[in-house]
Structure formats: C-alpha cells, structure tokens
C-alpha cells in the first residue's frame, strides 16, 4: 500500500508551521497598523464640514485670535464653538453673497444651528477640560497642531491615552508661558529647564496627573 503522505509532506508541514507563525505575526502587525493608521485615528485627515471653514485663512491670513470664536476656552471644559451670529458679525459685511457661506446665512435665517463634524474627539468616558490646560500653560498648538496652516481642519495627534499620558507624565516637556498659550508659532530651543520652573510656578501637581480620576469619572 502506498504511503499516504509523501516525503515532501514533512517539508510542507514544517513550512506551514513557520507560515502559521508568520501569519499570526503579520496579522498582529496588520491589526496594529490599522489601529494606528489615519483610517482609524483620523489623524491628518481633513473632515468634510457643512462650510469649508479655513483656519489658515482666518488665523494665518487675517490674524484672528483663537478666543474670538472659541470664547469659553479659558473658562470651561468646552472651548466653545462660534454661534452663527459670531460668523455673521463679519460675513454680513464681507463675502455676504458667497455661495460657500449659504449654510451660515440659512442657519441665521431659519434659526437652525450649523452641525459641524467634530475633529478632535475623545471617547465619552474621557472628561477633557480645556480651561485647566490653557490656564496651566498648555498651548493650543500642543494638542491641535499648526491650525494656522490648515485650510480644512484635521486632527494633528492621535488622541489615544498613550499620547495624553506622554504629557501628563512629564508636563515640563510641553508647558509654555501662559502668555504664549494662544501663539500657534511659539517655539523654544530650551524647553526642559524653563519648563520645570513653569510646572512649579503654575502649581501643576505632577504626582497627581497620572491618577485615573484626572480624566475618567
């Protein structure tokens, strides 16, 4: 009776064992890649918006301060989104017939809010607070990136917990003087030593920053 398995079956078996290991690793790598890819994280991916609002034009081109629209960023957990009226303060005078701005005019006329797509979104079990960051010397650009260079807004950083903790473990790496918080182009060559001083000066309780209760309730 002939052998059921030929001699090369051994090689196939060995190869398939190796292939299995490689497949598992590759599968793991693919999952990891997908998890961190812009497809999942939406990092660097501009989102479609009801009005193609350009931060580049308004901030870089016109020099409007962040707080002109995001009025509550120093007072509240929520930075605040401009009301339709805020948009119309200027756009009732300039570009008042631009087809691009039709949804804004319609919103005012019909008293129905604009519905923007949230670009920087943390999960619902994370309670991020803008005011405490801004008041402790964390600049807008630290998390939101170079908004003045964004024709359409995208997420600059992956808002995963690892990324948050990077700063919460060592805020001196990112802290800046309070007066520079809204300066999107502030840079320094000497971050660490003055950073440590600022952390002390602003009473940042570093020992507490990695407590779960800081962000999760």
């Amino acid at each position: 009776m002939a052998q059921i398995f030929r001699r090369r079956s051994n090689s196939i078996a060995r190869a398939s064992l190796a292939a299995f290991v490689i497949l598992v690793c590759a599968g793991g790598w693919v999952l990891h890649a997908v998890y961190w890819s812009p497809w999942t994280t939406r990092q660097m991916t501009p989102l479609e918006q009801p009005v193609p609002f350009s931060h580049k034009h308004h901030v870089y081109g016109l020099g409007i301060d962040c707080r002109f629209c995001h009025t509550t960023v120093e007072k509240s957990a929520f930075a605040g989104m401009p009301s339709t009226e805020t948009c119309m303060t200027c756009h009732s005078q300039i570009w008042k017939d631009a087809p691009m701005l039709a949804p804004v005019r319609e919103s005012l006329a019909k008293n129905v809010s604009l519905r923007w797509n949230r670009v920087n979104d943390t999960p619902d079990f994370v309670f991020f607070n803008h005011s405490v960051h801004v008041n402790h010397g964390i600049g807008c650009a630290t998390c939101h990136g170079q908004l003045d260079q964004m024709p359409l807004t995208w997420e600059s950083h992956v808002l995963y917990m690892k990324w948050c903790l990077d700063c919460h473990r060592a805020p001196e790496k990112y802290i800046r003087p309070r007066e520079e918080v809204f300066n999107l182009n502030w840079t320094t060559t000497n971050q660490l030593a003055p950073g440590k001083k600022l952390v002390a000066e602003y009473n940042v309780h570093t020992e507490q920053l990695t407590d779960c209760s800081m962000c999760h309730r």
Partner: protein, 1016 residues
C-alpha cells in the same frame, strides 16, 4: 419562617459590646434572620444572593452556543471606527451661558399644595438635577425623595403629549372653542352648571383666576380634592379654636416630643424643614449638651416612629383613647376616665406625663393628619396646657388659598353630578376617578356631566373618562407660584420650554375668562404686577425669581385662644358654663373598642405617594424606608398576627371591609401593631405608563369617606396563593454578629463614659497589613466622609439624589429580586429586640473608600485603584467585569451591570443625564466615588484661581440632599474642616474597623435618649 419568635440561641452576647449596649439584644435585619440565624449565616458570605449571577431560563447547551457566537463576534466591535460626532453651536448664544458650566435657577415644587423651594441645575438648557434652595424656609438646601424624582417625571416618555378628544388627537384651539361654547351656554344660568375641581391650591395667581371666574359666573362652584389631605387638622382646629388655623411646630425648641400617629419627618408638607429642626436636637456631640426625647405612638412603623426613643404600637383607633388618657393623667381635662389603659401603656403614660410636666413650654404634642379631629383637639389642649404655645408652637392662617374640607367638597360635587346638575366639569390636575373614596363612585357619576375636561400630565384613569384631555406642563416647564407651609411665596420658574404640547391650569382658566388667552408667564407676571404696580416692580420680580422666594411673605403669627378653655393662674381649665365644650364631642367614643377586631389603616405610599408617581422608575425602585419593599405595596401585618393566621411573606390574602373585597399579599412587618393591617395608597394603577403597569394593588377600592384613614371590622382570609414581593432588606447584608457594624448607645451612657464607643472598638495598627502600608502618601487633599447616625432619620433621600446625580439606571422588579439593584448608597435598616416592637436604626452605606481597600488587590486589570487624594476609583473603561472586587468587598457596596441597564434608546432620557458622569455599559462594576465629578470641578476651579479648595465647597449629592444634615464630606487632612472635627469626635467609629481596611467613610454612633424610668 417566623415560628420561633424567641431570641435565637446561637447568638451569643458579644462581650466586647457589654458596656456599650448594656443588656440590649442583638441586631437583626429581617425576620428570617431573627428566626433562623443559621441559614442566614450561610447567605452572609455570598457576594450576591443566590442566583444573582445566573442566567434565567437558560440551559448549558444554549450557554455554549452563545459562548461560541460571542467569541466569534468579540473581535468585531474592535474593528468599528469611532462614529463622527456633531458639534451644534447656538445660532444666538445666550449671554450668561458658558457651555460646559451649569446654571442654577430657583423654582419651587408643590406637593399637597405646599411649595418647597428648589434650585434646578441646567446644562445648556436642559434640567439635569434638582437641589434644595438654601434660602427657602421649607428646604434650607435639602429636599425629599419626591423633589429629586420629579426630574424623571419631566423626561418621562409616557407623559401625555397631545390634546385628546375622546381619545383622539385634537388641538388646543379646538378645546378653547369648545369651552367657550360651554361658557356661552352658561351665561344664562350664571354658571350654575359649571364646576371646577382642583387639587389643593396655594397658588395666589390660580386663586385669583378662579375668583375672577367665579365673579363672572357667581353660581359656579370650585371644589378641591386630594386623597391625602388635611381635613382632620382643619376640623380639629375649628373645634378647638372656632377658626381655621395652621399649627407651626418648632422642633428645634422642643425637648420632649410626642407624636400621635404623625409622620412629621417624612410625609408632612413641611417635613424637610422639620427633619432639619428635629435632627438639630438629636446630635448631642458633648456630654453637657441637651438631647430631645421623642415618644411616638403609631399603628404602623413610619420613618418618624423609627426615630423614637420610645415607640408604642397601638391601633390607630385607640390613639384617641391614649391621648385622652394622657390628658387626664396630666390633669389637662377632668372628664371621668372612660377606659383604663392597659397596664403596659400605663407605665409609658406616667413616664410621658412626668416628662411633659417637667418640661413645660419645651415640649410638642403633634397629631397626624390621619387621626380624627378629636385627637387634634386633644393635642391642642395638651400644648396649651403645657404652655407650649408661643414657644415650641405657633399658629398662623393657612397658606392655602382656600382651605376647605376636601371630602365634603368632593361630596358636594358628586351629589351635584348625581342630580344631573353639572353641565360642565373642568378637572385641573389630580386623578379622582382613581383615588376618591370608593363610596362616592366618582368614576360612575362622572359620566353624568355633559362636558368633561381634564388637565393632567399623563393620560390617567380620570382622563380616560373625560371628553377632553389636556396635557399638563411639568413645573420645570411652566410659570406659576405657590406658598410654602409657613406662607413663604415662591414663583415657580420654568427651566425649559414645554417638551410637548402642554398647558398649565393658568392657561386654561385664562382662556376661559379673558380671550384670546395669555401665556402662563404673562398671567403670573401680570398678577403680581397688579398687586405691586410701582415702578420698581421689575426689580422686585427679578429679585424674587433670583432668590426663589418673595421677601416678607411668611405668614404672621396669629393669636388665637383655645375655645372653651381659658388660662387661669394654675393652668388651663375648662369653662364650666360653656356649651361648646369640645370634649363633649369626645364622649361619644366607643368605651370598649375591641382589640380583637381587625383594623385597617390607609397611608400614602412612602415612595409613590397617592399614586401620582406610579410611573416614576426611580421612586418605584427606591426601597420603602421600613419594609424595603420595591415596586409593590402589601398589607403590612404584625408578626403575631402572621403567626396566628399562619401567614408568610407574600401570601395573598383577601381583605373584606364593609363588604368590599381586595386581594393583596401580606408582608410581616416588625413593629406593626397586632390586629392592625397597614395598607399603602397609590398602587394598582390601570391607566398608567409602562413603568407603573402591573405594580401593586389598588387599596382605594377599600377606602371610603367614613374610614378615610382607618376602619375597624375587616375580615382577613388566607387564599393560599402566593405573590412575589421583592425587598432589599435582606440583600447586601453584612456579617453582623461578630463584627461591629453599628454602634449605638444611650445619651446617659455617653454622659457617663464619653469614649464608650472607641473604648470597645478594635482598631488594628496601621502597619498590620500584608500590603504596603506606606505605599500611598497623602500630601494633598484627603477626602473623607462622616455620617452621623444620631441625625439620620432614614428617609432615603440620599439614595435617590445619588441616582439622579450619577446616572444610575433602574433595573426593574425581577432584577432587584435577583439582588442586582444598582443604588450606590443604600440605607440599611437594623432592628433590635423582639419583633413586636423593635428599636430601629438606619445606616446609610456608600462606598467606604478604604485606604487598605480589599477590592483593589484582587482586580486583575487594575480597574479599581487609588488616587493621590485617597479615593478608591473605579475606572469603567478598564473594567472587564470579573467581579472579583465585589466578591472581596466586606461592605458589599459594589454594583455590577449585569445587563445593559442604562436606557440608551429612549431619546427623552438623554438630556436628563448628568453630562459629567459616564453612563456605564453592560459588564462593568460601578460604585460610589464621593461624586468625583464634583471634586474635579472644584479642584479645577480652585487651581485656576490659585487657591485651595475651601471646606464645604464640595458637597456630595447625598450630603446636599440630606434634610437632617447627617452626612459631612471634606478634607480630613485639614484639621479645621468640619469632617475632621467629626472624625476626631469620641463617637466616631469605622464600620468593620477591625479588618484594618481603614475606611475613609466613618460613622458617629447612634445615640438615643430613652427615659431611664422606662428602660429599667
């Protein structure tokens, strides 16, 4: 179950406790525990009760199939991307609003006509929480359970949403046209065929509107009816004083309090305030302090009675005899003795009499609204005799707009209906077809009215019988005004536009009087403007809205003299010539009431009141203060009667009363009077939303106008059927024999030996632990809580405030039965001594926030751990649901989401939730973290202002709501904080302190002040 009512033999007196509790008997929580401690011991060691973690109706095969499918599907959710959320800014941003920061608005809620001032929290325009208004005299910052739960009523998806005509959707305009036609036809009759039926009214605006209508239609009649009313109080006052006066009690001034079936700490219109005043005199912190002594005489155990130093359970019908005997003993009346009280009562009577005589001018005798007018006369007489008037008691006019005898008022209406005199009946609120006395046959007679309109927040039994139904606005949606028990007037200010096409009573009346009808804002505003037409009106109006009350509207004290009794040098004595001796009315009493005869008593339900809250899941699931029953009512019977009739908990019985029959399950209740059966009103609703369906039994079917509160001659028959009643009383029980959960003593013991609590407590050295005692160094804030058991009255307000603040879901009756109730803070009831009349103690139990937390060391994923401020955190997004933590928790305070309890689907419930608290999902453990969202907010505020958090700046939800101020939270690292001072007090103890868990929540021992002559 309760065959053996003697003390269990296995319970050995604890030698440690001897000096502390003297010769007292051991603690127990349920009658099962009392009679069968061995079986009970076995249950104690379970994490949850048997079956809590079992699937129901599920076999092994199904389980394996499902497991296979779950594993296959488990990886799929990880592949979904986070959905894109929307940001929806305002079109016009309101000026004062900072998105993300709540605003608080002063408003008021009425119950039984009387207002309690509230502050409602609003997040971006939707109300999320109700707190008490600290400036309002009926609240002082606290609320009761009904105020807390009113929020859920606003968002109730079962609320009525449209005007209905004969059950079909119609419009408000058509209704107004219809009612105008009716009024037109009434012009010729002077309105003789028009009747208005309201609930109890204190609103000055509504009163004014009705009076305007009555001016236009002089023959129209206004009726008022609520099933829980003050008729007896008013009638008693009329006999005693010849006029209608309201009695205001000042419990903070009283040293001796005697309650004659009054539940003044819980169901009185001013109970929130009374609880605060009462508790002030109960927390004796120093041996030189004074503590009040409280005697309660009642038929069925109430929250109030459970706080008594001496509680006498006697039948409701005998309380009049008791009061009479006491008045005789004191010499307040000189009528011949009608009946000698039993000798057991005799001792108590003498003791009370002696105490009252020694404390003239410093005592209070208060009678309940369920007792006859004669009892109220006797209470007035005693207070007058004891010189309490002007000291602990004062009189005012009633704050109600038009106080009437409501039973008579409704009787008038029913008589008119029977004689076909009613052409049109406008019912503004209430549900008389369900809750009026059964002998009135209101529902049947209602059909005789030709035009029937009903304003109601839900389509209830009465709406179903009316031609027109108008949805009623919630008080958070409409303008109104109302008066508190002491007369303080508040404007009821809405926080949100009506969610549905609702209207208020004001708008209906306005549409009737002055077409085309104004908005409720204009009606209320114009009314007050017409009263104060000055140029400064707008300023005053805005101030009244801001403060939540109109200044100087408290009723002035009223001088009134007790009729037929006059003061003489030696005391108060009856005027012999008087023909109006009120006591003549007392002589017709039954000289020998037969105690063998069974009696039934009716009381509003402790959580759903008269039935109006039947569709409120928070209240349905809130354990009743004494029995801890949920989702049902039952006939409460005494252990002795249960033994005699061979009844067990849940046995359905048939009660026959005046030939009317009702089938209802029984619940054996410690402290219930023998031969008295207590029934709770409000259950058994038929036309009700999905929450209140099939809950409980309608005892209104037995209630008639002559026995509104109690009646004798009921026949009890065992049916042999069983009904599943669910109670949380025996759930989350803690091993109570060997370990010290609860410490209590008497005020005398405390005086003799101020450190008696701590002397006997075993507190191991901090380093006696296998873990790393130095692992956590607390340099910053150290949050802690102290709960004063002497002050706690057991009202459960903390439980429901926590539920509202922390988005705690409702799980339903069957889930509670499996031990899956989700409340983060529970109030445990403990009983001591024989079940016939045990001492009761309430103990609120939140998470203890142990420093050496047993839960933390067993969590495999680090989902529960410490932060630097000493909070024992629960990180929901890390939790994988092993439940090891709750298994290891000696306090049993952790709650597991067995199913998707949070209702994500009902859209109306979404805006109700606290946006600062995670809505937990299936499969995670959750628990109290001292309202960490409030701590975070205070911490961020203080850091931005570069200061420390001030003492008292953070109030946990349970602390804020507590009418008795029993809960104090704060930084125990600050030696000057209130909580530190309490924790360094000699009465402070840790629950299960000998386990060295080092709980941050500690208790102050319960002190009682029994009469030494009675305890011997």
């Amino acid at each position: 179950m309760i065959d053996d009512l003697r003390l269990p033999k296995t319970v050995k007196p604890d030698s440690n406790r001897k000096s502390e509790i003297g010769n007292r008997k051991s603690l127990w929580r349920s009658l099962d525990e009392f009679s069968n401690p061995q079986k009970f011991r076995e249950q104690l060691h379970d994490e949850f009760q048997n079956g809590a973690s079992d699937f129901s109706d599920f076999n092994r095969r199904d389980f394996l199939k499902l497991m296979g499918a779950s594993i296959a599907l488990a990886s799929l959710p990880a592949c979904t991307r986070q959905p894109i959320e929307k940001i929806v800014p305002y079109v016009k941003q309101p000026e004062e609003l900072v998105p993300g920061k709540p605003l608080f608005f002063a408003t008021a809620m009425t119950l039984g006509g009387f207002a309690t001032g509230l502050l409602a929290e609003s997040h971006e325009g939707h109300p999320t929480k109700i707190e008490g208004n600290p400036d309002h005299p009926a609240s002082l910052g606290a609320t009761n359970i009904f105020h807390q739960a009113a929020l859920l009523d606003l968002y109730d998806p079962d609320r009525s949403q449209a005007v209905l005509k004969n059950g079909e959707i119609n419009s408000w305009e058509n209704f107004v046209a219809a009612i105008r036609d009716v009024l037109q036809s009434q012009q010729t009759k002077n309105g003789g065929g028009l009747r208005i039926l309201t609930e109890t009214v204190s609103s000055p605006t509504l009163n004014f509107q009705i009076q305007e209508l009555l001016k236009k239609f002089p023959d129209t009649k206004w009726h008022q009816f609520e099933p829980v009313n003050s008729d007896n109080i008013f009638e008693g006052a009329k006999i005693a004083f010849g006029e209608m006066v309201e009695t205001q009690f000042h419990f903070d001034q009283a040293k001796i309090i005697l309650s004659l079936d009054s539940d003044f700490l819980y169901s009185h219109p001013n109970s929130v305030r009374y609880a605060r005043d009462f508790a002030e005199r109960r927390r004796a912190r120093f041996p030189q302090n004074e503590m009040s002594r409280f005697y309660a005489v009642e038929s069925s155990p109430t929250v109030t009675g459970s706080n008594a130093d001496h509680r006498l359970p006697i039948r409701a019908s005998e309380i009049e005899n008791f009061a009479h005997a006491l008045a005789e003993k004191l010499g307040a009346i000189s009528n011949p003795a009608i009946r000698n009280p039993q000798s057991a009562i005799e001792n108590l009577l003498s003791a009370i009499a002696e105490d009252l005589l020694q404390n003239r001018g410093k005592s209070i005798v208060i009678a309940g609204e369920n007792q006859s007018p004669q009892v109220h006369v006797l209470a007035h007489l005693l207070n007058e005799f004891l010189g309490n008037v002007g000291k602990t008691i004062s009189f005012t006019e009633s704050a109600l707009a038009n106080p009437v005898n409501q039973i008579e008022s409704l009787r008038d209406l029913v008589d008119a209906l029977k004689q076909n005199q009613v052409d049109a009946l406008i019912i503004l609120g209430g549900n008389p077809a369900f809750n009026s006395p059964t002998d009135f046959q209101f529902a049947e007679n209602l059909a005789r009215a030709k035009f029937k309109a009903h304003l109601s927040s839900d389509v209830n039994e009465t709406s179903a019988l009316c031609d027109w139904h108008i949805p009623e606005n919630h008080f958070l949606e409409s303008w109104s005004d109302a008066r508190a028990f002491d007369g303080t007037t508040s404007i009821v200010q809405p926080l949100i536009l009506p969610l549905y096409a609702g209207k208020s009573a004001h708008e209906i009346l306005d549409a009737m009087v002055s077409p085309p009808g104004r908005s409720d804002y204009d009606i209320v505003h114009d009314f007050w403007n017409s009263k104060n037409p000055g140029a400064n009106f707008e300023n005053g109006w805005r101030k009244a809205l801001h403060d939540g009350l109109i200044a100087n509207t408290k009723l002035p004290e009223k001088k009134t003299t007790l009729r037929a009794f006059q003061s003489s040098g030696t005391g108060v004595s009856p005027v012999s010539s008087s023909k109006e001796n009120p006591l003549e009315k007392l002589d017709g009493r039954d000289a020998h009431p037969t105690t063998q005869n069974l009696e039934i008593t009716f009381r509003p339900d402790a959580t759903i009141f008269d039935g109006r809250f039947a569709n409120n899941g928070w209240l349905q699931e809130l354990p009743k203060p004494i029995t801890k029953l949920v989702w049902d009512n039952a006939a409460l019977i005494s252990p002795a009667l249960a033994k005699k009739e061979n009844l067990e908990n849940g046995d359905a019985v048939e009660l026959e009363f005046k030939k009317r029959k009702l089938k209802i399950p029984i619940w054996v209740t410690p402290g219930q009077t023998e031969n008295s059966i207590a029934l709770q009103l409000g259950y058994g609703r038929k036309n009700v939303g999905h929450v209140g369906k099939n809950a409980g039994f309608n005892v209104y079917e037995l209630r008639d106008a002559n026995s509104l509160w109690f009646g004798e001659g009921v026949i009890l028959k065992k049916t042999g059927e069983k009904y599943p009643l669910v109670t949380t009383q025996a759930q989350q029980t803690i091993d109570s024999d060997e370990r010290q959960i609860l410490r209590e003593g008497t005020f005398d013991e405390f005086r003799r030996e101020p450190d008696f609590v701590q002397k006997n407590s075993e507190s191991p050295d901090k380093n006696d632990t296998l873990f790393y005692p130095q692992e956590f160094k607390y340099d910053g804030y150290r949050w802690g809580m102290a709960i004063d058991l002497s002050a706690c009255i057991g009202c459960n307000a903390c439980t429901i405030a926590c539920q509202a603040e922390n988005n705690i879901p409702v799980v339903g009756k069957t889930e509670v039965a499996r031990g899956r109730v989700m409340h983060w803070i529970r109030v445990d009831n403990y009983f001591r001594s024989a079940p016939a009349n045990p001492e009761m103690t309430h103990q609120p139990v939140p998470c203890m926030q142990c420093e050496n937390a047993p839960c933390e060391v067993v969590c495999p994923v680090g989902a529960t751990l410490h932060d630097k401020e000493g909070l024992n955190l629960q990180v929901y997004n890390r939790c994988v649901g092993t439940r090891y933590c709750s298994n290891n928790c000696p306090y049993k305070v952790r709650r597991f989401n067995f199913f998707e309890y949070a209702d994500y689907k009902t859209p109306s419930l979404v805006p109700m939730r606290n946006p600062n608290v995670t809505v937990r999902w299936r499969g995670v453990m959750e628990k109290c973290t001292y309202c960490i969202q409030r701590i975070s907010e205070a911490r961020i505020n203080s850091e931005e202002q570069n200061r420390k958090i001030r003492d008292g700046e953070i109030k946990t939800a349970c602390q804020q709501v507590c009418p008795a101020n029993a809960i104090v939270f704060g930084d125990i690292g600050d030696p000057n904080s209130r909580v530190s001072k309490l924790k360094s007090h000699k009465l402070n103890f840790s629950m299960l302190g000998e386990l060295n868990t080092r709980p941050r929540t500690t208790y102050l021992a319960k002190l009682r002040n029994p009469n030494p002559k009675l305890s011997a």
